[in-house]
Amino acid sequence: MGRQPIHPRPGSAFSLGSKLAVAAPYLWLLGFFLVPFLIVVKISLSETAIAQPPYTPVLDVAAGWQGIRDFVAGLSFANYITIAGDDLYVFSYLKSLKVAAVSTALLLLCGLPLAYAMARAPRSVRPLLVTLVVLPFWTSFLIRVYAWINILQRDGLLNQALLWLGLIDQPTTWLATDTAVYIGLVYSYLPFMVLPLYASLEKLDETLLEAAADLGCPRWRAFFVITIPLALPGLGAGALLCFIPIVGEFVIPDLLGGSDAAMIGQTLWTEFFANKDWPVASAVAVVLVVLLVAPISVYQYLQTREIEGRPRGRPRGGRRGGP
């Protein structure tokens, strides 16, 4: 934002192409992201009806002002009262937040050593390591979860290995437990945690660590006093990039988890597909977004700063290092 062009470029202001570049994606996102969400809000304030579409009131624009007045008068908060009063929903939200918090912490524990080791690896092998971490992410999410079913099922490889090692006497149930959900989540989201962490650790000026060592600071202490604080932006971005989608996660708890305590994504899915209660499903979605507004805003702030603030701190081309 602080950058001023050296001299004004002709045509860069409001040429036809520039207008199109703004208008096309803007209109697309308005039409297919913002408006749909407003419809969700509207339907969450409607009442369930046995009809197609299964909700009332329907906004009747043709009826003019009277139509709008009827519409507003028909709005009700009944769905939100239902959600707040029913333990099923409240527990579902709490469970989702708990699972997301615990798995984000686990992801940090697993991701930090990996990202740190990648950033300390010889410069020549770093691109290969990044590719190796990203590659599983390119293969299907569903397939990666499915791969764990193979391993975790009752006569699966994990139990076979543990039996063979003599650690257990009879097969343990892994599938349909919270442990399985955590394994699946950590496995699937690991690249999202490692890459932002790696990006900020890689930029770390090693002379700072050398200076600390010269002044007699032990290495473990330098890690906590220098490395971690400087990696905080990446750490924050990684944590949010995992936490937010995990709260609404559906596939992993559905395939690996038990049926006793559903996460909110599953509850929404059931409400919509099995119970066909669109207004309640919409209200569940709206409350979920409200819960996530704070983390999403922080994430957007970090994202904007990361992308748009990059040239300020560093000379151009400085990231690549040597010649």
Partner: protein, 266 residues
């Protein structure tokens, strides 16, 4: 460069083993001759031959491919436009625009899916392949924007300025200079959009209609009933295709970069 410490090597080895072991096991078991997925019955390709006769699975795979190609192409065009708008232009409503670009990246899929479905119902649009394409374009264009934007931010504009000083019109400057320079990011964006679309289960489940079954929807309905060797085979083919595509793309990107570096320095 000093050598890596022992702990760092262990962290790398464990991390990569954790990431790759399940996939390796899946691939190995797809060649298992036994119908019981947990008992090893010798090497066999019978599940692959069984797959060729599974018409429903092949149709689903073709549908997924078509949707992924079309939506990734749309998303690449729109996402690149959005990246140019965000890095180059000042316009009213820039802040809400940026918010709308970054929000779908982290928005839980169930919400994106539900809201798009309710839109399609509200405007009375028949659901099917077309609606899945719209939904996937909306989701994936934001990923394209982020990738292209990060390339545009570190972009040396002196070449563009030189072209314009020499009287090249803005439109031509864009296609002759800017676009080729950001091409690696655009291609990476396309590939990411393609693989996200190919992979998506939740949003496709919400926005699909009668008769439009994608590969993930098909796999999901099978997986819910338990592990099947045929699914192992489908997954192995999927993984192979993606791995080959990604490695090829990164090799192409590298040789292009190297070629350009030479062209610019000599």
């Amino acid at each position: 460069m000093r050598r890596m410490s022992f702990t760092n090597l262990v962290a790398l080895a464990l991390g990569l083993a954790f990431l790759y072991a399940p996939i390796a096991i899946l691939i190995i078991y797809s060649f298992n001759g036994s119908r019981l997925v947990t008992i090893w019955g010798g090497w066999s390709t019978r599940w692959y031959t069984a797959l060729i006769e599974d018409r429903a699975m092949i149709d689903a795979a073709l549908a997924s491919l078509g949707i992924a190609i079309v939506s990734a192409a749309l998303a690449t065009v729109l996402g690149t436009m959005a990246a140019l708008a965000l890095t180059r232009l000042r316009f009213r409503g820039r802040l809400p625009f940026a918010a709308m670009v970054y929000a779908p990246l982290v928005m839980p899929e169930v919400i994106t899916g539900l809201s798009l479905l309710l839109l399609f119902v509200a405007i009375d649009l028949d659901r099917g392949f077309f609606t899945i394409i719209i939904a996937h374009t909306t989701l994936t264009m934001c990923f394209v924007t982020v990738i292209v934007q990060s390339r545009l931010v570190g972009f040396d504009r002196s070449l563009e300025e030189a072209a314009m000083d020499l009287g090249c019109p803005p439109g031509r400057t864009f296609f002759a200079i800017t676009l080729p320079l950001i091409m690696p990011a655009v291609i990476a964006g396309f590939l990411l959009a393609f693989s996200l679309s190919l992979d998506d289960l939740v949003i496709a489940s919400f926005t699909t209609g009668p008769g439009a079954t994608t590969l993930p929807i098909r796999i999901y309905s099978e997986v819910r009933l338990g592990v099947k060797p045929e699914i192992n085979a489908v997954c192995t083919i999927f993984i192979t295709v993606v791995a080959v595509a990604v490695i090829a793309a990164s090799l192409i990107g590298k040789s292009r970069d190297r070629g350009r570096g030479l062209a610019l320095t000599t």
